[in-house]
Amino acid sequence: MMSPPKKDNVFRALDRKLGAVTEFTMRQYRTKLSTWVILGVGFIAISIVVLFYVDSMQQEIEAIDNDGDSADWDGDGYPTGQERIYGTDPENPESHPGTFTPPIAPDAPEKWINEDDFDWDLAASGDTTAGYDDDGDCRLADSTQSQKDNNRNNIECDIILDYDEMRGEWSEPNSDRLVDEDPDEEKYAKEAIHRAFLLAIGKMGFVFLLGIFLPLFLATGLIREEMDNSTIHFMLAKPIARRDIFLGRIVGYLGIVWPYIIAMGAIVGIISGFAGPGESLFRFADLGMWMAIIFATMLATLVYGMLFCALGTLWKRGIILALPFAAWELGMAILSFNAPTSSILRFSVIGWSLNIIDAASLVVWPNMALFISMGMWGGGYGGGGYGGGGRWDNSLEGAGALSAFASDTGLGISPIATIVVSTLVLLFQAAILWLVGSAIFKGKEIE
């Protein structure tokens, strides 16, 4: 009574067995309450952090007059900066630009806060000069050439930046006095916090939290749960190789997890795009970053899914075996922040996925290291430091957080190549785990 088997094309073959197992798994996980609880908890955790991010983006960061030239010492109504430009004596109340003919109106003090902002060419590389004395307190001051060229590169009023190849980071800028000494704190801080948030949520939130905990709770039970409540008997008594069952279950699990990750990534991406700083309504540049985050998380859930499913198949209490792995990956994640180039990272899954995100951050924000060192320097007030003595530590807000979360790719090759290599390695790991998993499942004797 069996009709002669029709000519089989790929779709028909897939449609039959593998497709059946996948569809079954997706429907099963959709109807299970625990799936929604786990996805819900992930959503809540990430949205809390996003709320704080949006809240901090709306906050005003009060501008600080770093070089104090907006104050009016002599009380003649003219801020010191203006008096200096016009050569009048800031301490003497009588001498002020008002006495010139024609008299110059006094500026509002706010004009002289954040007046000498950074305007460095962020694409710079190697040792170059940058910086322009916007408020002219170095350029127009009538002081000798040597006073205007503290960093001895016989270019007046500039900043020397040099890139230390060995340590792979920018050394502290060596600036002439009064150049870029009063940066706009808000502009820098917002940008730095925005980038730090993106990296933090991308690395810790998505790749680590979602990337490890979703598979830990969802993938471990893929085969083991069927074995425990012995509904696996139905599936095993069918002409389907166990390798296909294993793959079908994994693809079904990914069918649930990947759309969730893409959706989460899209939502948070859009929110951060609109709420982010910068003149344009929507920061289109960050979308590249978000695609990398989603892609890295998808790969992480794939590899961990295979790993935890194999562990679950191996032993009844597979979750016990999974915990040390999760702890190891946590250690690797933290290590990748502090020492991105250490070779142990190559033995972890998280190392490679975080690489993808770091590489993307270098592509999307070209000169991250320079940006960070700029914030750390924070208009360090020209070496000598105004008012004598050492430099105040006035690194700008957000610079610390950004340097904590940003890190180099550690592979020493170009970012694009890093992404490609990392993806290949992750896929290779997934393939290996799949073979190991199906071999375990094949050898498993079921009571």
Binding site: M1, M2, P5, D8, R12, D15, R16, K17, G19, A20, V21, E23, F24, R27, Q28, T31, K32, N229, S230, T231, H233, F234, M235, L236, A237, K238, P239, I240, A241, R242, D244, V436, A439, I440, K442, G443, K444, E445, I446, E447
Partner: protein, 330 residues
């Protein structure tokens, strides 16, 4: 528990075709042991066609035998062939096999139709073929009108029949049922027995296991008795009883004057022992049940004895098992 890479079969149903000449189920001195426990030892069995009852007490090896057949366990030694192919190496023969597991747990969140069509697709059918096949088998077990309700709300008897339906997909030649009547109430039990007998009549090979003997007696007379993992007896239950000639058959006849009847019976050479357990009862020991029964009706009628009942007390499964297993459970 080394991962076993021998399982090479792709499980594709296309290239594989059942070997008609080979018996449906063939086991050649199969044995299975977990560490020092011998679950099954030296089982040789060939079955094709008809309903066969697999009997044995708990732990006699019934489930192990089924798990070996269903490719869930690997035999420690010996070989198993379904339709001529070893299921452990190549799962393709399962396209011709239907299995009703003993466990009651099913996917309660699925509908009956969804459940059956899913596993039909695992047999290699496409989506449409699976749907039509599901309708057909659900109709066979009479669940058509509730097919689209959730399994969780089914009664135990109905779940049992969904399992039988899922095993009948794709018209399998071999149907294996592990304790199908476990925990069903009399109504569900009798209905399921009807369905099993129906399958036997349709010429399928049906393996039914149970440890409640009188249930098996009412389904089939072809039995396989397992005890302590060894094959004790095989074949028709009555002929087995006859074969046990070292235990005398007893025929017990209830009549007015047993002594008179005894006088007439005594000269039948097959009779070797006579006893009178009670005033109106005569018990005959014989080796050859046939010989005695052949003459008995004629003899009684000829001498005009008043006989109220005739019985062979130890010609049923319970006593066979008791004699074979020495009366101890294990």
């Amino acid at each position: 528990m080394m991962p076993d890479l021998q399982q090479v079969g792709e499980g594709e149903t296309q290239q594989w075709a059942p070997n008609i000449t080979a018996p449906v189920v063939l086991l050649e001195n199969v044995s299975k042991s977990y560490g020092k426990i011998h679950a099954l030892s030296e089982i040789t069995l060939a079955l094709s066609g008809g309903v066969t009852g697999i009997l044995g007490s708990n732990g006699a090896g019934k489930s192990t035998l089924f798990n070996l057949l269903m490719g869930k366990l690997k035999p420690s030694s010996g070989s198993i062939k379904l339709f001529g192919t070893d299921p452990w190496k190549n799962p393709a023969p399962y396209a011709r096999v239907g299995f009703v597991p003993e466990h009651e747990k099913m996917h309660d969140w699925m509908t009956a139709h969804g459940f059956v069509s899913l596993f039909a697709r695992l047999n290699g059918l496409t989506r449409e073929e699976a749907k039509s096949e599901a309708d057909r088998v659900l109709n066979f077990v009479g669940l058509t009108d509730v097919a689209h309700k959730q399994l969780g709300r089914y009664s135990k008897g109905m779940r049992q029949r969904v399992k039988i339906a899922h095993a009948l997909v794709n018209d399998p030649e071999l149907i294996v049922l592990d304790e199908p009547l476990q925990g069903c109430d009399p109504l569900a039990r009798t209905t399921i027995m009807n369905v099993i007998r129906e399958l036997g009549k349709m010429g399928r090979t049906v393996l039914v296991s149970s440890h409640i003997l009188h249930e098996i007696e009412r389904i089939t007379e072809q039995i396989v008795i397992l005890h302590n993992g060894r094959l004790l007896a095989l074949g028709n239950l009555h002929t087995i009883r006859e074969k046990m000639d070292n235990i005398p058959h007893t025929i017990s006849i209830g009549c007015e004057n047993p002594k008179e009847l005894a006088k007439d019976i005594i000269n039948n050479d097959a009779v070797y022992g006579i006893s009178f357990p009670s005033g109106d009862r005569l018990q005959i020991q014989t080796h050859n049940l046939n010989a005695v029964h052949r003459e008995l009706p004629a003899l009684i009628v000829a001498n005009g004895h008043k006989v109220s009942s005739i019985d062979n007390p130890d010609d049923d499964l319970e006593s066979i098992l008791k004699y074979l297993t020495g009366g101890l459970a294990r």
